[in-house]
Symmetry: C2
Subunit: 255 residues, 2 copies
Amino acid sequence: MATGRTHRPATRSRGIPEATVARLPLYLRALTALSERSVPTVSSEELATAAGVNSAKLRKDFSYLGSYGTRGVGYDVEYLVYQISRELGLTQDWPVAIVGIGNLGAALANYGGFASRGFRVAALIDADPAMAGTPVAGIAVQHTDDLDRIISDNGVSIGVITTPPGAAQQVCDRLVAAGVTSILNFAPTVLSVPEGVDVRKVDLSIELQILAFHEQRKAGEDASADGEDPEAPPMRATPASRKGPDGDMPAVMPA
Amino acid sequence: MATGRTHRPATRSRGIPEATVARLPLYLRALTALSERSVPTVSSEELATAAGVNSAKLRKDFSYLGSYGTRGVGYDVEYLVYQISRELGLTQDWPVAIVGIGNLGAALANYGGFASRGFRVAALIDADPAMAGTPVAGIAVQHTDDLDRIISDNGVSIGVITTPPGAAQQVCDRLVAAGVTSILNFAPTVLSVPEGVDVRKVDLSIELQILAFHEQRKAGEDASADGEDPEAPPMRATPASRKGPDGDMPAVMPA
DNA sequence: GTATGTGAACGCTTTCACAGCT
DNA sequence: AGCTGTGAAAGCGTTCACATAC
């Protein structure tokens, strides 16, 4: 059974912490906006505000890249844009394949911000033979049967999975076998991949559930003893002694 | 100026760490799958594998909820499903409004996993008058002018923003003014919100850039001195002394 | 015997606060 | 005087390893 390693354990590239890497795109976006407004330099305070972080964090982050600022002045916008782009590997372009051209896959294919910075939709792949040849966002959809060849021919190393959950692992395996080493997974599935393959996931349902947790907390802040009907709770198999916190299972359960 | 607090600083609910909250949906999904297969109990090891984490982490996570397992046996699946659902606030249903019905908004409206667990698409809102009345996923799109009323009438406390980046902050402000206290933002924009409002963001572009970073690292692992043409780097305004690591700007720049 | 629940150790991330340049 | 760059401290999150309960 494949155990599947997701995200980075602690391999740490050339010393840039993962948390910092995750913020570089944020800084880059803010810097690009400044660049378009022809702003020549920016302070850590200003840039941090624009990126939605605090300035100490930003300075610490930049310190991992090198000393790219000027004391008493700030950072040169163009110069930083280049340095961060290079660090993120955006000075080359990355052909990307999207597998699963349903509503979401099509939406991503049409997404403008995709091509904007280094990424290029090189192929759209779907298992439905009826879709083969249909153009989506100006690109003809190709059939899964040719996945291997499509990946190889286009030198794709980043794959995006937007299939139904049931197909995700299989598609993932085929992508990896074809040479893909980075996967962005939109399917609500835990993917197993061999060592050396990176997986990041985007999961609408999980995000909503996290929001609901906090939302519930807010609502329950004043009204402690609720008067709402508590959904019929299932009984426990082993009715042993529990010691959960207040919100435990009701002592009486519905017949 | 609104400073805008994103995510949770460190308020920590009733003691459940944020990292744990973020994993509860994962456990819930794995447990639901087991439940559908009528599996009565599961060990921390098995469940951890299914959820893609290690068992120590899972047990630690569950310990924050209470002692819901049985030593020497494992966890009762149904019981845990109920406890986690309750903890996440999924025993009540959450009406959600989606603002910005373009490709992505429509895709989300059609997304099945949405309604599945406690969430219900209560309203679709768009600024384009031509879209008003058009049904998307069986729900008529309403115009932004009525946003306030729509939110109030439906008791929406969770909003999803899928507008173009330029409109996101304005839509966010209006949602918050109308009573929304949780926002899921798909627009590539840093949102400013007042204290007490939670924002989570989903950003395709950021995820791809993080993957590109690691991808670049993999590629450069053996080939140190690259032969690729390095995109013309911009010159620095202040040509002062830098001490960045190896990947510095080329000493000679293109004429 | 077996698997949970948890203090303690460890490592990563953030924040502080100030030395070091410009 | 002003702002960056960075050690040191504090805060979180993960992992270990074993006492505890079944």
